[in-house]
C-alpha cells in the first residue's frame, strides 16, 4: 500500500504541474488589469512612472513565462505571494476561508450521501408508482439550478417561516440552508447512481441466490450488495466532494457563507491574480486528495484489489 501511495503521489506531480501552468496562463491572459483597477479605485492621476512602478510591484512588467517560473519557484516553497486586494498573504487568505468551505462541503457531502442512499434504496424497494415518483423527483432536483434552489429555500425557511437567518456569522446553525441546497442536487444525482448500481447487482447470481434462499431484503442489501457497490460509490462521493469544494461559489455568495467562494468571486472581480492562481492550485490539490482517498477506499473494500496491491 505504501508503494501504491508513493507512486500515486508521484504521478500526481506532473498533473499538478500541468494544471498550475494552464491555470497561470489562463489567469495571465484573461482580460483585466489589476493596475488599472487599482488606479480607478484610488481616484488618483498617476504619472507614467507611477503606473510603471505599480506594474513592477505586481510583477506584470515581465514576460508571462518568467512570471510563471518565478511563481512556481515560490509556490513549491509554499509561498503564493500577497493578495493585491487585501494585502494579506495568499496563504493567510486561504486559511481564513478554507475552514468554512471544508465545513460546508463536508456537511453537504454527508447530506448528499444520506439523500442518495435513501433515494436509491427507496427507488429500488418501493412499488412501481412510488419508484416513478422518486425518479421524477430526482430528475427535477438534479435539473434545478442551485441558485434557484437557494432562493426558494430562503423564501420558505427565512422569509416565510423565519426558521433561519440570511446574514449569519459562520456558526453551524447558519450552515443548514447552504448545506441543504448543495446536498439536494448532489444527493439526487448520486441517488440515481445508487439505484442503478443496486439494480445491476440484484441481477447478479450471488444476489439471485440470496433471494432464492429467502434472505430478507435488508440482509441482501447490507451483506451482498453493499460491499460490492461501496467502491464505485466511494469514487463518486470523492468526486462529489471535490466538486463541492470548488463548486459552492454561488451558494456561498447567496448565503453570505464566508468560504473560499466569497474569496474567489472577489478575487476575480478585482483581478487579484495571486489569489486566483493559488485557489486553482488548491482546488487541484483538493481533487487529487479526494480521488486518492477514493482509490484507497476502493482498494480497502475490494479483496481482489487489496491482494493485488499487497502483492505489488
Amino acid at each position: 500500500m505504501t508503494r501504491f501511495l508513493f507512486w500515486r503521489v508521484l504521478t500526481a506531480v506532473p498533473t499538478l504541474f500541468g494544471m498550475s501552468l494552464i491555470a497561470f496562463f489562463i489567469v495571465s491572459l484573461a482580460p483585466g488589469d489589476p493596475v488599472l483597477q487599482e488606479l480607478r479605485a484610488m481616484g488618483s492621476v498617476p504619472s507614467p512612472a507611477d503606473v510603471a512602478a505599480l506594474r513592477a510591484e505586481y510583477g506584470l512588467d515581465k514576460p508571462v513565462i518568467l512570471r510563471y517560473a518565478a511563481w512556481l519557484g515560490r509556490a513549491v516553497r509554499g509561498e503564493f505571494g500577497t493578495s493585491i486586494a487585501s494585502g494579506r498573504s495568499v496563504l493567510a487568505e486561504i486559511s481564513i476561508h478554507l475552514p468554512a468551505t471544508l465545513m460546508l462541503a463536508a456537511s453537504a457531502l454527508a447530506g448528499a450521501i444520506t439523500i442518495s442512499l435513501a433515494l436509491g434504496v427507496a427507488a429500488v424497494s418501493a412499488d412501481r408508482g412510488v419508484a416513478a415518483v422518486l425518479r421524477t423527483l430526482t430528475v427535477v432536483v438534479v435539473s434545478v439550478p442551485s441558485f434557484w434552489l437557494a432562493l426558494l429555500l430562503i423564501y420558505v425557511f427565512v422569509m416565510q417561516l423565519g426558521w433561519a437567518r440570511l446574514v449569519g456569522d459562520g456558526t453551524p446553525g447558519d450552515l443548514v440552508l447552504p448545506a441543504i441546497t448543495l446536498s439536494l442536487a448532489s444527493g439526487a444525482a448520486l441517488g440515481r447512481m445508487v439505484r442503478e448500481r443496486i439494480r445491476a447487482e440484484m441481477c447478479e447470481d450471488h444476489a439471485r441466490l440470496a433471494i432464492a434462499k429467502g434472505l430478507s431484503p435488508a440482509r441482501i442489501l447490507l451483506h451482498h450488495i453493499a460491499p460490492r457497490i461501496i467502491g464505485p460509490l466511494a469514487t463518486a462521493w470523492a468526486n462529489t466532494l471535490g466538486g463541492l469544494l470548488g463548486g459552492a461559489v454561488i451558494v456561498e455568495s447567496i448565503f453570505g457563507w464566508p468560504g473560499l467562494g466569497q474569496l474567489i468571486l472577489q478575487a476575480i472581480a478585482q483581478r487579484d491574480f495571486p489569489v486566483i492562481q493559488a485557489y486553482l492550485v488548491f482546488m487541484g490539490l483538493g481533487y487529487f486528495a479526494t480521488s486518492l482517498l477514493a482509490d484507497v477506499t476502493v482498494i480497502l473494500t475490494d479483496p481482489q484489489l487489496r491482494r493485488e496491491v499487497g502483492h505489488d
Binding site: 484573461a30 482580460p31 483585466g32 488589469d33 488599472l36 483597477q37 487599482e38 488606479l39 480607478r40 479605485a41 484610488m42 481616484g43 488618483s44 492621476v45 498617476p46 504619472s47 507614467p48 507611477d50 503606473v51 512602478a53 505599480l54 510591484e57 500577497t82 486586494a85 487585501s86 494585502g87 494579506r88 487568505e93 481564513i96 476561508h97 432562493l151 430562503i154 427565512v158 422569509m159 437567518r165 440570511l166 446574514v167 456569522d169 459562520g170 455568495s253 447567496i254 448565503f255 453570505g256 464566508p258 466569497q262 474569496l263 468571486l265 472577489q266 472581480a269 483581478r271
Partner: protein, 515 residues
Amino acid sequence: MFRATLTARLAAVALLALPFAAPSANAETSLTIAVRRDSNSIAENNFNFTTRGPVAQVVETAVQPDANFVPQPLLFDAWDYADGTYTITLHPGISFSNGTPFNADTAIAALQLYDRNKSDFLQIDPASFTKLGDLSFSFRSETNSALVIENMTHRGTSLFADVADRATNPIGTGPYLLESYDPKVSLTVVRNPTYWGTPRNIDRLNFRYITDDNARLLALQNGEIDIIADVTPQMMLSMPQDGSVVLHESRPIRYVALLANVNGKAPFDILKDRAVREAVAWAIDREAIAGVLFGGRGVPAKGILPGWMFNLGDDHTDGFGYDPAKAAALLDAAGWKPGAGGVREKDGRKLTLRFLAAYPNVTSVKPMPEMLEQMFTAVGIDVDLVEVDDAGVYSDTYLANGEADLFMEFASNNNTDPTYLLTMLFTTTTPWGGYQFTAPGAHVDKLLADARAAQSRDEVIAGVRAAHRAIVQDDLTAIPILMVPNFVLSRPGLEVPMSEFTDWIDFGMTRIVAR
C-alpha cells in the same frame, strides 16, 4: 385595608419592573449596514484599511467636501496657498484615539506616512515640511499644484497615527473606533467617546459584506440588516413597493454616457465625423429612458459633470433634445443616405456602429442598450450591440484597442479634484488604457493641463468648464444620456444623511425615528 395594601404592593412591583419593561433612555443604538465588497487592504505600501467608504469612520481627512464638493475645514482649520507652498493651521484640541495630540508634529508625521505608503497621489514634497508652530506647518507641492487641498478630500488620503500595528489596529481622529474586523464577513466600529467633533447618533455600526444583490435585499426585508449601502438598479426594480423598504437618494451625480471613438481605425472610424456623433445625440429619447430606468429617478443629462459640482453651473452646456428628424437630416447631410433594409450607406459602406455596453457592467444599465439600439435603428443606424458584464473584458478586449464605436459608461466623478475625470477619460495622455480613443485632441489636452497648472481655484474651474463644454457639446466625444442619484436603501424609520459622494455618507449621523 387589604385592597389598599395590595394596590401598594402592585404599584411597588410595577415600579421595580419598569426598567425591564420600558426601553432605557440610554439603550445602545446600533445599525447593521450591508456592503457589497470588503475593499480594505492592510498592505504596508497600499494601506487603505478603514479609509474606503462606507466603513471610513475611524480616520478622517484633512478637509471635507461641502455640498458642492468644495473643500471645507476638518482637521485643517485654515490653509493658504502661494507659489506652490501651502501653509496650514490645524484645528485645536484634536487627539488621535490613542491620546496622542494632533498637532504640527503628528500631522506632518501622518502626511509623511501617507507619502510613504501610497502612490504619489498628493504630490507633496516630503522634504518640504516645515513646522511653523504647535498647530501650523507648511509644505510644498512637487508640481506647483493648487489642487493638493482638493485632493485631500479623497477618503484615501485619511490621516493615521504612525503606529507600528496600524495594519490591524488603525488609529485615527475619527468619530468611531475599530472594534472588530472579520475579513470579507464584517467590520464593526463603536463610538469614539473622546471624539473631538460632533458626536454621532449611532453607538455601533456593523458593516456586513454581502456579495449577492438579492441576498442584500432579502436580508433588509427580513429585518436582519438596517441599511444597504450598495444599491444596484436591479435591486430598485425588485424593491417591494409596500413601504417595507425605503429609498434614500442624493442629487443626481452619476452619469450614463456614450463615449465616442474619435481616433479609431477602420471599421471603427465612422464617428470621426462630428455630424454622425451629433446625429446619434439627437436620436436619443432621454425622457423615455429616464422613465424606465433607476425607478424613474434619473434625469436627462446635458453633461457628465452635474452643474452643482464645483459650482460649475448648468449654463456652459446646451445638451441635446430628442429630434429624430434632425438626426436623419444630419446623416443625410453627411452623405449617409437610406439604403437597403433601412440602413444608411455612404460610398457602398453601411452605417454600422459597434455599441459596447457597458462599464462597469451591462447589468447595471439594462435595458438601456436595447432601447438605444431601437432609437438608432429608427434613424437608419445599424447597431452591432456587444454587451459585456465585466469591467476587465470591457477595458482590455475592446476599449484598450478601440474595438468599438460607442462605449457606454455608467460612472461618476468620485474625486474632488475638478480636473480628475476629464483628464482620465478625455486626454490623449491618459494613463488609463483606451481612453485616448475618446480624447478630442490637443486643444482639450491643453485646457485640462492648464487647469491642472492653474494657481487659483477660479482658474481651475474656468478651465474645467471649458473642457467639459468641448467634450460634451462642441467636440461631442461624450454623448450624455442620464444623470442618476446615489441611492441607499433602508428599513422604515431611518433618516440616512445622503451624500452624492458615497465615501462621505455619514452613517453614524443616521437618525432613528422609529423602530
